[in-house]
Symmetry: C2
Subunit: 244 residues, 2 copies
C-alpha cells in the first residue's frame, strides 16, 4: 500500500530534526506543505520534489497528499514542530478512510519543548497547552481553559498567541492569570525558536501585554512556584536540594 | 567554560533522536543518567564513557554531573523523552549557580508526542499534561487538575500513570473524567512507545481501570469531541471537511 508520512520536523533547523523525520523526507517522491515550511526544508534536502501551498488551503493540501499517495507515490506532508500537536495529522486521518493509503505520523519536537529549553526549565511540572487562535474555537471556550488552568496551577503554554488581526487575546489571558496568581508570575516569550533570528524575553504576567509578541512566538507562563534565576525560568519540581 | 548538556533523547530508539541530541552525546567525555536510560543508549554509541546511577539518587547524579563539568569535562546528562518535561533540566539549573558550567538544554520528542503519533491524532486541540506521581505533589492537587482540565474540555495526557505502589490513581482519574464527559470518551494507552515491545490499546474512560497500564505506559484521554475511526483516536480541530 502507498505510504503517506505526516512529518513534524521540529522547530526548524536540521539539528533539531529526528532521524525518522529526515528518512521520511528522503524516502518521499513528493514533499508537500505550507510555503514557509517548504522554504525551511529546501536548504537541507537537495533535488527533492517539493510542492508548497498557501496556508489557507489546508484541506486541499491534505486531500492532494492522499490522492498522490493513492496513485502510488510516497508522500511526506511536512510541518514544523510536532505534526501531532495542532497539526495536519488529524485531518489526514479523518480523510484517509476514502483512500488506500498507509498513514504514518512521525512525531517531532513540539514548539513548547523547543521554547522551554531556551527559557530554562519551565515545564518541570504539570502544564496546559492552549492555542489562542479563535478561528475554529470560540473565544469564550479558550478563555475558560486559561482560567481553569490557572486556577488549578498549571504552567501554561500559549500557541498562536497573536496574529495581525488578533492582538488582544494575550492581554486578556494575562489579565486572567494575573488575577489568580498575581502580576509577578514569570512569563517567557520565545520568537523563532530554533530558527535564524531566534530571540527570547523573560518578563512577568503583568508586563506581558507590553511585550513584543507575534505569530512566530510561543509564550510560556509559569505556575505559582515558577521563578527566575540567572536569567532562566524555572518551575521547581519539589526536590529538596540538600538531599544527598 | 565547561559544558553540560541536558539531553532528551526521545522515546528510546535511535530514529527518534534529534541530530542535536546525538551530537551532544558524541561530544561528551562522560554520559550520565539513570541505569535504564544508559542501557537504551549503549547499543547506539560505542566506546562512550557511560556512568549510570539508580533512579532514587537523582540529586546526587545532577550534582555529580555539574562537578564533572566544573572540572573541565564535557558532560551529557541524558533522559528519555524531553529533558525539559518532568526532567532533570530544572534541578540542574537550580544547582548550576554553584558551578562555573555552561548548561545547554537539548529538547527531545516528549512521551505525549510519541504516544499520540501511535494512537492517531488525539492532540489536535488544547491539552493538559499531568503526572500522577504524588511523590512530590499532593494527590488532592493532582486530582483538582484532572477535574479542572476535564471541566474546561482539555485532552488529558497522563505521565507516570501507575507504579507498583500507586495503582488506584488511574481509576480515580477515570472516575472524575467519566462523570464530566461520560464513560464513552476514548482513552488510549501506549506502552513502551518507540521501544522494543511497543504496544497500544484504545478503550474508553469507563473501561480504563480494567486496562493493562504500568510505569512504562502513557495514557491519553480525549476531550468531549474525540472519537475513534478505523482504530485511530482523533480529536477534530474543527475543519469542515467539505471545504475546497
Amino acid at each position: 500500500m502507498a505510504k503517506l508520512y505526516v512529518v513534524g520536523f521540529g522547530p526548524g533547523g536540521y539539528e533539531d530534526m529526528t532521524h525518522r523525520a529526515v528518512s521520511a523526507i528522503e524516502a518521499a517522491d513528493v514533499v508537500m506543505g505550507y510555503t514557509t515550511y517548504i522554504e525551511m526544508l529546501e536548504p537541507y534536502f537537495k533535488n527533492k520534489n517539493f510542492f508548497s501551498t498557501p496556508m489557507t488551503k489546508e484541506l486541499d493540501r491534505c486531500r492532494m497528499a492522499l490522492e498522490e499517495a493513492d496513485k502510488g507515490k510516497t508522500v511526506a506532508m511536512v510541518s514544523s514542530g510536532d505534526s501531532g500537536v495542532y497539526g495536519m495529522a488529524g485531518v489526514i486521518l479523518q480523510m484517509a478512510q476514502d483512500y488506500h493509503v498507509d498513514v504514518e505520523i512521525v512525531p517531532g519536537v513540539t514548539a513548547a519543548s523547543a521554547a522551554a529549553a531556551i527559557l530554562g526549565a519551565p515545564l518541570m511540572h504539570d502544564f496546559a497547552v492552549i492555542s489562542l487562535s479563535d478561528l475554529m474555537t470560540p473565544l469564550e471556550k479558550i478563555m475558560k481553559r486559561v482560567e481553569y488552568a490557572a486556577l488549578s496551577d498549571f504552567v501554561i503554554c500559549l500557541y498562536n498567541p497573536k496574529s495581525r488581526k488578533r492582538t488582544e487575546y494575550v492581554a486578556m489571558t494575562a489579565d486572567i492569570i494575573g488575577k489568580i496568581h498575581g502580576e509577578d508570575v514569570p512569563a517567557g516569550i520565545v520568537r523563532n525558536a530554533g530558527r535564524p533570528g531566534e530571540s527570547y524575553t523573560i518578563t512577568s504576567v503583568g508586563q506581558l501585554k507590553e511585550a513584543d509578541i507575534d505569530m512566530f512566538s510561543l509564550v510560556i507562563i509559569g505556575n505559582s512556584s515558577t521563578y527566575v534565576q540567572d536569567g532562566r525560568m524555572i518551575t521547581p519540581r519539589g526536590y529538596k536540594l540538600e538531599q544527598s
